[in-house]
Amino acid sequence: MTGPAQGSADAVLMARLLARDPAGLGGIRVRGGPGPASDALLSVLAEAFAGRPVRRLPLHIDEDRLCGGIDIAASLASGRKVESKGLLAEVRGGLLIAASAERITAGRAGRIAAGMEAHGFALVLLDEGGEDEAPPASLTERLAFDFTPGQLGENDGARPGNAPPPVPRGATDAEVLAAIETTARLLGVAGTRPLLFTLRAAAAAAALAGRAVISTQDAAEAARLVLAPRATQMPAERPQELPPDNTDPDRAPPETSQTPEDVVLEAARAALPPGLEMLAAGRMRQDAAASQGGAGEKRRSPVRGRTIGSRAGMPGGQLRLALVETLRAAAPWQKFRRAAGGGQGLVQLRREDMRVRRFESRAETLTIFAVDASGSSALARLAEAKGAVELLLERAHAERAEVALLAFRGAGVELLLPPTRSLTRARRLLADLPGGGGTPLASGLDAARLLAEASRRRGRTPRILLLTDGRANIAADGSPGRARATQDAAAAARRILAAALSALLIDIAARPQPEASQLAEKMGARYLHLPRAPAAAIHAIAAS
């Protein structure tokens, strides 16, 4: 349904709708890295926003420049406080473009979100995150459109034209509102914001067409653009949830007298992203996306480079000057120093005034439980691991520790609990645990290592807690066979050693297994024999 022309036309339509109502629609999240496709979209947007401020948001913009504050250079030069307007205020009613949006921190996102509310600009998030990173949910939530510009190649000449003058708008037909609501519900779109986005996009579409009242067609367009990318299920999956007066969405649309519901739902359904047939997969995708935002923010915000204040000291080397604090320290003495007649210049600084920034250096740990969920004892083992996770999270607030849980069994590895500090979240995700099947030990080790390395890149201190008997029988490529599997596991273990990751292997077999202790040795891990591995004991070890 969405060929190149459609994709391109959609981009133009989104740009025009957004230009109509930047404050109401919020903006666009553009997936995928930079390229001709996103450039084309940006140029369409720039055209649609012609005459209004369009600004780029540099990733490393400082707080004062973003939100406004004291212009220090100008203040020093003039000897009085010079306030500067922040970027967010400058772009009022216009368009703000953020590249590498997946790297925006939670704090920054909060400011931008507040700015959107105060200044009503539209935000374009160029999301280059891919699978394991996403922009903060506090921003993506506020954007009506989600665009994957795969199809947008050459711009085929569709250009945002001049908009007609606004017409006073009449009340929206109750049937149209109901159609939007039904479509959102049948597509599994949660929350009220998407409903309002759809409504506003429809209103903007009506305005573009010079209509005073939202037509069914406007609502259909809006549903296609706003609701379809948010869908978590196929509409036909839950026909029983239809209110009794509704028509069955499965029925072929009748030639005549289509209800607004049919039209809106059909439009959205036709634009559903591929692969949504798998209901569960769709849900997980959404879940993952939502969680990435939250968890990602937390991972990023408090480490590296976050100042928590300043202390006296000379800048240089690793120490960075805290300018404002330095001036503050010097300020009370200015009159006195001037009177004393020492030195030249507007501000007289002394060595003892110098302040340097103090960075937060909390060691945040991530404990990765990699649990062998194969064989018959899998369920009990997973249950104990789950208990240990929860015990660890009980105290996670104080220790700023995060926990993740991987299980490997059958042919693959599953990340049951992405790194989190939240007990609530852990409870929900670990509610039912799968178990049984063969032991793909190598895959399990590799997955644990990748997770550990990713968290280390984000400034965490990861450590791996492996619960297994060390007896692999599924090779890295998923084929059964003990010899290959053991070899692969050994190789994976050596990669952990090479990555210099801290690891601990808990042998959970009834008797100590030579395979397990050898494996521990290969990955440079401590070895511990702990049959049945009760939750409290694992927790004690993990907490130590």
Binding site: G110, R169, R193, E394
Partner: protein
């Protein structure tokens, strides 16, 4: 500034959403009303998903309240009635809307508590305190979205000030103390990181909001937003009467609350309930009684009854229960079960 050639008006910015036009979310609205009637309650924590209207409701309540009189020229929102202003107020009185201060994530301690005024210090060599967000929130609301992501030491500080109603600054050679009485409203999604239990315990009330599921409610939300989008002024006018009613309710309850009698057996009931659910510490009991008293004042009654305790208990206690790893029952259910047992 507004781009009318494109048919764009930044209409969402100018007008808030009227409090009475908020669909559903009764518990949240009730908790906010309690906080407006009884500021000593010590803050409201709102748990819930994004986009459920948490900040809209808090903002709406603030803008519903009548403008307040302050001493002109005073940056600390001094009340003309009461102790004389010592912040350079000129003795005249001005009216200002009840402040609603949004505390951004990543705000520094300086910006929150206030700091040395660099300009004055540099130019005049004068040591002067530049008030921070706490001073701006005095006699109003301080709203912190995603409070669970805020640095712990800042949450500590905020709760301290909110409990003591005073901001004490001892730094950079400054020694300042000023009144900072505000209703603290925090919001956050526990799935994205939880608040330390010690901090949570210091919030007077907590509510859980969910996105409305009922079809009628969802359609009604759209209908009202549609109406506001089309004609913000008309919409505000339409709801003004309902908002005025709520305002009178708050004013009457404020006047009445100190007269509400609390019988001894109700005090005993409250203590027993706290014990039963395992909400230890005095804070829970105090919050429960205060919230219940505010509710009975809002109901126009002169004596605190069990029904008010019942209505207030989930809000006042659910965030204070000790978490039991083995028991996954929600806090609200545990409280309701305990009330069922105690007061069948």
């Amino acid at each position: 500034m507004l781009d009318n050639t494109h048919g764009v008006a930044l209409r969402y910015l100018a007008m808030g959403f009227p409090f009475s036009a908020i669909v559903g979310q009764d518990e949240m609205k009730r908790a906010l009303l309690i906080a407006a009637v009884e500021p000593r309650i010590g803050g409201v924590m709102i748990f819930g998903d994004r986009g459920t209207g948490k900040s809209t409701a808090a903002r709406a309540l603030a803008s519903l309240l009548p403008p307040m009189d302050i001493v002109a020229g005073c940056e600390f929102h001094c009340d003309p009635v009461g102790a004389p202003c010592t912040h350079g107020g000129n003795g005249k009185v001005v009216r200002k809307p009840v402040p609603f201060v949004d505390l951004p994530l990543g705000a520094t301690e300086d910006r929150i508590v206030g700091a040395l005024d660099i300009e004055r210090a540099l130019v005049a060599g004068e040591k002067r305190f530049e008030p921070g967000l706490l001073a701006r929130a005095h006699r109003g609301f301080l709203y912190i979205d995603e409070i669970n992501l805020l640095e712990d030491h800042l949450v500590d500080l905020l709760l301290d000030v909110s409990a003591s109603a005073q901001n004490v600054v001892e730094r950079e050679g400054l020694s300042v103390r000023h009144d900072a009485r505000f209703v603290l409203i925090g919001s956050g999604n526990p799935e994205e990181g939880e608040l330390r239990p010690q901090l949570l315990d210091r919030f007077g009330l907590s509510v859980e909001v969910r996105t409305p599921q009922a079809i009628d409610a969802r359609v009604e939300i759209m209908r009202r937003c549609d109406a506001q989008d089309r004609d913000p002024a008309g919409f505000a006018k339409h709801w003004r009467r309902a908002d005025g009613k709520i305002l009178r309710l708050i004013a009457a309850a404020r006047a009445r609350i100190s007269d509400v009698q609390v019988p001894d057996e109700i005090l005993a009931d409250a203590a027993r309930l706290c014990q039963q659910v395992g909400a230890d510490g005095l804070r829970g009991e105090l919050a429960l009684i205060r919230a219940a008293r505010a509710l009975s004042a809002l109901d126009g009654e002169t004596e605190l009854g069990r029904k008010h305790l019942r209505a207030a208990a989930p809000m006042a206690l659910r965030h204070r229960l000790r978490r039991n790893v083995l028991d996954e029952t929600g806090s609200t259910t545990r409280i309701e079960r305990a009330m069922e047992e105690l007061w069948p």
